[in-house]
C-alpha cells in the first residue's frame, strides 16, 4: 500500500514540518525542523495535476485532451492551483525550507 505524505496536521490543520531524517542502510539520523517543499505541501490531486502538466510539456490543450475536458476547464483549474501556490508562498514556513 502506498502511504500518502501527510502535509497538514490532522488536528489543527496547520502545515506539518519534518523533524527527523534517517538513512535506512546505516541508521544515521538527522534531526531538526525542516519545512516541506512547496510542491509537497499541495494536495495529492494538485500534485498529480502538476506532474501531468509537466508530462504534457506544459500544453494545456494536450492536458485537456487527455482529461477529456475543455481547454477553459484545465485553464481554470490551473488558475486555482496558481492561487493556492501563491497563498502557500506567502505563508511563513517553520524550518525555513522552501
Amino acid at each position: 500500500m502506498e502511504k500518502k505524505l501527510p502535509n497538514v496536521c490532522p488536528s489543527c490543520g496547520r502545515g506539518l514540518t519534518v523533524r527527523r531524517f534517517e538513512c535506512e542502510r546505516c541508521g544515521t539520523s538527522v534531526e531538526g525542523a525542516f519545512g516541506l517543499p512547496l510542491l509537497a505541501r499541495l494536495s495529492p490531486v494538485d500534485q498529480t495535476l502538476v506532474v501531468s502538466l509537466i508530462k504534457a510539456s506544459g500544453s494545456l490543450k494536450e492536458l485537456a485532451r487527455q482529461y477529456g475536458v475543455s481547454y477553459p476547464t484545465v485553464r481554470n483549474r490551473l488558475d486555482e492551483l496558481i492561487g493556492r501556490i501563491e497563498k502557500l508562498e506567502s505563508e511563513p514556513i517553520e524550518g525555513g525550507l522552501k
Binding site: V45, T48, S52, S70, Y71, P72, T73, N76, D79
Partner: protein, 351 residues
C-alpha cells in the same frame, strides 16, 4: 494506472454529471469544436425560423409572423451572437485575472449557449401555434381600438390550438431562461469570472450587445433597402407587439389613403398603379405581375373583390400599419399595408 487517470478518478470535479452537461456543457466543450457546433445550431435555428417566420431579432428577442427573405433569419442569429461577443470579451479582458483567456472560447461557448433557440424555432412550426398567432393578429384591431371597431376582433382560435400555443409559449420561455443561464455560464467559465462582478458585467454586456445588434440590423436594412423601412424588416404584428399597437392606435389619414389607393388599383386590375407607391425594396421584391398573381389567387380563394369596408391605422414599433377589411364574394379578408414615414408602401400582407 498513469498519473492522468489517477488525477481524473481522484478529482470529483472531473466526473460527468447530467446537471453539468445541461448547465455547463463548456466544462467538456469549448473553443473550436464548440464554435463549429454552436454556429451550425444558430444557422439551423435561423433556417427553421424562416419556415415559421420566427425572427431572432435581438440578443434575447424572438418574434413570429413577419415574412422576409430566407437569408434574413440565419443572418439575425449570427448578428445576435456576434453583437454579444465584443462586450463580453472586453469585460472578460478587463475583469479576469486569468492569463489564458482566449477569444475562440468566448466565441465558441456563446455560440453553443444559443442552442435552446433551436427548440423555439421548432415550437413555432407547430400548426396550432401558427393558427393561434394568426387569430391573435386578427383580433389586434379590437384590442387596439376597443369594442365596436367593426373589424374581426373575436379570437376564433380552436381550444386545441390555444393549448398548443400556450405550451409553445411556455416552452419558449423556458428555453429563453435556459439560454440566458447558459450564456452567463459560458461567459463566467470562458473568462474564469465569478461573483457579483461577473453578474453585473454580464448584464451590462447583454444591454450593450442588444444595442449593437439593433444597430447592426438597421445597418443591414440600409444596405438592403437604402432606408430602414424595407419591406422585409417592417415590424411584425404579433402577439408580442399587440400591446405596442394598442397603446398608440391612431386614425391618421395619409397612410390609410396610401393603402386604399393601392387596393383600389388592384380592384381595377391596375397592378402597375398598385405598385406605384412601393418603396425600392418592395419594387424589387414584388413586381406588378407578381402582385397581380397574388390578387388573382386571393380572388380564387375568396371570390371576387366587392368593396373596401373599414380600415384601421396604428403605429407599431414606429411604423404605420393599416389594416383594411375588404369584402370578397365568399368572405371578408383583412389586408395589411405597412407605410413608411415617407408615404411609401414598405410591406403588404394578407391576413
Amino acid at each position: 494506472m498513469n498519473a492522468l487517470s489517477d488525477a481524473r478518478s481522484a478529482d470529483p470535479a472531473s466526473r460527468v454529471s447530467v446537471a453539468r452537461v445541461l448547465f455547463n456543457p463548456f466544462y467538456y466543450l469549448a473553443g473550436g469544436p464548440a464554435l463549429g457546433i454552436g454556429l451550425a445550431l444558430i444557422l439551423a435555428a435561423g433556417l427553421i425560423g424562416a419556415l415559421s417566420q420566427t425572427h431572432f431579432d435581438g440578443v434575447l428577442d424572438f418574434h413570429t409572423g413577419l415574412p422576409a427573405p430566407w437569408w434574413i433569419f440565419p443572418a439575425e442569429g449570427v448578428i445576435d451572437w456576434l453583437a454579444l461577443i465584443l462586450p463580453l470579451y472586453l469585460a472578460g479582458r478587463l475583469l479576469s485575472h486569468s492569463r489564458g483567456l482566449r477569444l475562440v472560447d468566448v466565441l465558441g461557448t456563446q455560440a453553443l449557449a444559443r442552442a435552446p433557440y433551436l427548440v423555439v424555432a421548432l415550437a413555432a412550426l407547430l400548426p396550432g401555434y401558427r393558427r393561434t398567432t394568426s387569430a391573435l393578429v386578427e383580433a389586434l384591431p379590437r384590442l387596439a381600438g376597443g369594442a365596436g371597431s367593426g373589424l374581426p376582433g373575436e379570437l376564433t382560435a380552436h381550444p386545441a390550438d390555444l393549448a398548443v400555443f400556450c405550451a409553445a409559449i411556455l416552452v419558449s420561455l423556458a428555453m429563453l431562461i435556459w439560454m440566458v443561464a447558459l450564456m452567463y455560464r459560458a461567459y463566467a467559465f470562458s473568462c474564469n469570472l465569478q461573483g457579483a462582478g461577473a453578474i453585473v458585467s454580464f448584464i451590462v454586456a447583454v444591454i450593450v450587445g442588444e444595442i449593437l445588434a439593433k444597430a447592426a440590423f438597421f445597418a443591414l436594412l440600409a444596405g438592403v433597402g437604402g432606408e430602414p423601412t424595407a419591406a422585409a424588416f417592417a415590424p411584425p404584428v404579433t402577439a408580442s407587439t399587440i400591446g405596442a399597437g394598442a397603446s398608440t392606435a391612431t386614425s391618421a389619414a395619409a397612410p390609410a389613403e396610401v393603402a386604399a389607393a393601392m387596393i383600389d388599383a388592384l380592384a381595377r386590375d391596375d397592378a402597375a398603379g398598385a405598385t406605384r407607391d412601393f418603396d425600392a425594396t418592395m419594387k424589387r421584391a414584388l413586381s406588378p405581375n407578381a402582385l397581380q398573381k397574388i390578387w388573382q389567387d386571393l380572388a380564387t380563394r375568396n371570390g371576387a373583390f366587392q368593396k373596401r369596408l373599414e380600415s384601421r391605422h396604428m403605429k407599431v414599433q414606429g411604423f404605420d400599419v393599416v389594416l383594411v377589411k375588404c369584402q370578397f364574394a365568399k368572405r371578408p379578408v383583412t389586408l395589411q399595408v405597412t407605410v413608411s414615414a415617407g408615404g411609401e408602401v414598405s410591406g403588404f400582407h394578407i391576413r
